[in-house]
């Protein structure tokens, strides 16, 4: 009820959208010209003196059909089979050489097919827009109201329809370079596009077989998947939790009354963010190699006799990447929490001091609950960021140590494994499956946490 009212209230302000110009009204009450415009886009606009607009619709319709007849239908027809003509060696009598015939390339067929479908979806939207726009012109002229001419329409792009003008380019960019590739990649998960059995040029749809393979405990890929997933979650929990807690403690220590040169200390830590991540991480990687600077210096000082196995022993490697991630992440937390820490009501601390609580108790009973309450959304973003934390793992350990014969190393996350599978090993289909599963894991975590935040908010512990 209240939601409805709110909706109405919003629509009233927007007003152009609570319109009678809907597709169903156009079908029910549209005149002849509107009916014609169902087939010939723009007819109704032309009939009601919006000639330029009508011609634009018509031109777009002609362009769409020209594209579909020339290319589009062919692409769509190839989509179910993904092509089956292999490239062959043919003896050319005239030239006396072997020539290769152009075979089908499944990946291009898939891409063009998806583009054709996307263009068709866009065309349906355009068709709907043209019918409603034609009906609007009819509706207005029937009631002797003003029908915008083309110049007024263009002017309206800078005022009432400003969002259409401003969003057009960014939206195109997102659709073409984020959404389209994503759909393209998701469809790859249902094919056998990989170097297995030489399916790099010609491949077929295989349904859910790849998912079955990755989720299967008995398959070698499946076993790798579950162990990598386990490590990814451990990593994300530790990386997020340690950064959060230590970043906060550091923030508290810097902000406490007795500390001098607050700005200087903050600057020291923030400077490490200012150095590009790939530089600092690559430096640490070279320093921590078996013959790297750290080991050599420790040996020269006589502290150790053998090189410490920073990236050659699984446990060492895992602890090392988590600790170095603290080095990377704590300054970010420091920046984020400093402002919020200062907002904690001072009365809470004073009351605690009167009750004789020491620093540790105050931290766990006041600071941490308050911060958790305020920064849960930030924590969720951090967690997602860490699950997808490609840079730290890839630059630091590169996933090593890698057991012989395995596609993933002991410190590989799902994302770095995805990278290795696609770029190094050319298992494009499995890479896509892992991408989708990563998304599923993140979506579950995000949903569960958001729901818990909701119930947490209802308690209104600190408000």
């Amino acid at each position: 009820m209240s939601k409805n009212a709110e909706k109405k209230g919003r629509k009233k302000r927007v007003n152009y959208f609570a319109t009678p110009y809907t597709l169903s009204n156009a079908l029910k009450e549209g005149g002849t010209a509107t009916k014609i415009s169902l087939l010939v886009m723009g007819a109704a606009n032309i009939a009601h003196k919006q000639i330029v607009k009508g011609l634009l619709f018509l031109a777009l319709e002609i362009a769409y059909f020209a594209y579909m007849i020339k290319i589009g239908f062919g692409c769509l027809a190839m989509l179910p089979s993904l092509g089956d003509k292999a490239s062959e060696k043919v003896w050319n009598e005239a030239k006396g050489i072997y020539e290769y015939t152009a075979g089908d390339q499944s990946i291009l067929i898939l891409l063009y097919g998806i583009i054709a479908i996307a263009i068709t979806v866009l065309f349906v939207l355009l068709w709907r827009a043209s019918v409603t726009s034609g009906y609007k012109a009819q509706y207005l002229s029937e009631r002797k109201m003003h029908v915008n001419n083309f110049i007024e329409d263009v002017k309206d792009l800078f005022n009432g329809n400003l969002h259409k003008m401003l969003m057009a380019l960014p939206l195109t960019g997102i659709l073409a370079f984020t959404v389209l590739p994503l759909i393209f990649m998701i469809t790859m998960a249902f094919t056998n596009y990989s170097k297995v059995d030489d399916h790099l040029t010609l491949f077929d749809w295989v349904g859910l077989a790849n998912f079955a393979k990755v989720l299967n405990f008995k398959d070698s890929i499946g076993q790798t998947f579950w162990s990598v997933l386990g490590w990814t979650i451990i990593w994300a929990v530790f990386a997020t939790g340690l950064n959060y807690i230590f970043g906060m403690i550091l923030g508290i220590v810097i902000n406490r009354k007795g500390t001098r040169c607050k700005a200087f200390w903050r600057f020291c830590f923030v400077l490490s963010i200012a150095v590009p991540q790939f530089v600092s991480l690559l430096i640490m990687r070279t320093c921590l190699q078996p013959e790297g600077a750290v080991n050599v210096l420790l040996k020269n000082m006589g502290i150790i006799n053998e090189s410490l196995p920073f990236f050659t022993n699984a446990t060492w490697a895992r602890v090392t990447v988590i600790i170095i991630n603290c080095w990377v992440g704590i300054p970010y937390t420091l920046l984020q929490v400093t402002g919020i820490l200062q907002n904690i009501p001072a009365e809470l601390y004073e009351a605690a001091r009167v009750d004789g609580a020491n620093a540790v108790v105050t931290f766990f009973k006041i600071t941490l609950p308050y911060m958790l309450f305020v920064t849960t959304p930030y924590l969720i973003t951090q967690f997602t960021g860490n699950v997808n934390n490609f840079n730290v793992i890839f630059l630091l350990s590169g996933g090593s140590p890698t057991p012989v014969g395995s596609t993933a190393g002991k410190t590989d996350l799902l994302v770095t494994w995805l990278y290795k599978l696609t770029i190094d090993q050319q298992y494009y289909n499995l890479g896509a499956v892992i991408g989708i599963l990563t998304f599923v894991v993140l979506a579950i975590v995000a949903l569960v946490t958001y729901r818990n935040t909701g119930s947490y908010k209802n308690e209104e512990g600190f408000m």
């Binding site: 400003l162 969002h163 550091l250 220590v253 007795g258 600092s280 770029i423 990563t438």
Partner: protein, 290 residues
Amino acid sequence: MRKKETASVKTRRFIANTVVHICLAALAIVWLFPIFWVILTSFRGEKGSYVSSFFPKTYTLDNYKRLFTDTSILNFPQMFMNTLIIACFCAVISTFFILATSYCLSRLRFKMRKPFMNVAMVLGLFPGFMSMVAVYYILKAIGLSEGSMIRVALVLVYTAGSGIGFQISKGFFDTIPKSLDEAAFIDGATKFQVFTKVTLPLSKPTIVYTVLTSFMAPWLDFIFAKVICRADAKYYTVSIGLWKMLEKEYIDSWYTCFAAGAVLVSIPIAILFVCMQNCYVEGMAGAVKG
């Protein structure tokens, strides 16, 4: 009696403060150590990644010189120019995309507003590298994967999706009072005029922040650059170049040059970052103070 108590409180506070400052100093050394190490290495006279002592035995400027003169294998000046050109284009295009999107989402009310924001959140949950291969094929299909078009391709890759990163500037626009817009409307301004003449002049911190982050993106990314440039060394960006210097075949002769290059790339970014920090804090704090 009372005096004695305050004195003991004072000594306790003094001890606590000293401990805190010592801890902070130790931590600061840990955090600054790698940076210090890079700078030391960039002046190191001995070649190679193998070191036998903490401080270099000889100091030299040759590493910097070599970076700009030895262009036969790894052409650092060209990489630098490539990155600079790409970064400039990115800064302009991304800033426009981000500001336009966040203004629309913050100030204008239209049917697709909520759905767009939800879709943007869902898209953010997919691993960014997942679509890398697909992006490459799309660029190939529209003929941007060869020759000098690689630069265009890189600009496209860094900017096209930037509209999704609207949150920070949207948050900033949200804090600009609506009454300013309404006053302008009464004076007969169109929404576009309000955007360019009222909102943007008030949004300097967030504009600076957006420009700087967009400008920095090409310097920091090397995964997409690597996939798109493949073996075409002429179009490498700085980050691929530095990455190459640490590969097995180059590391022995290029390690110290890598450090020099790293210092050169870090200095401008560090300066930008320190300047940006204020804008970042202001951008978070909102437009109108008090």
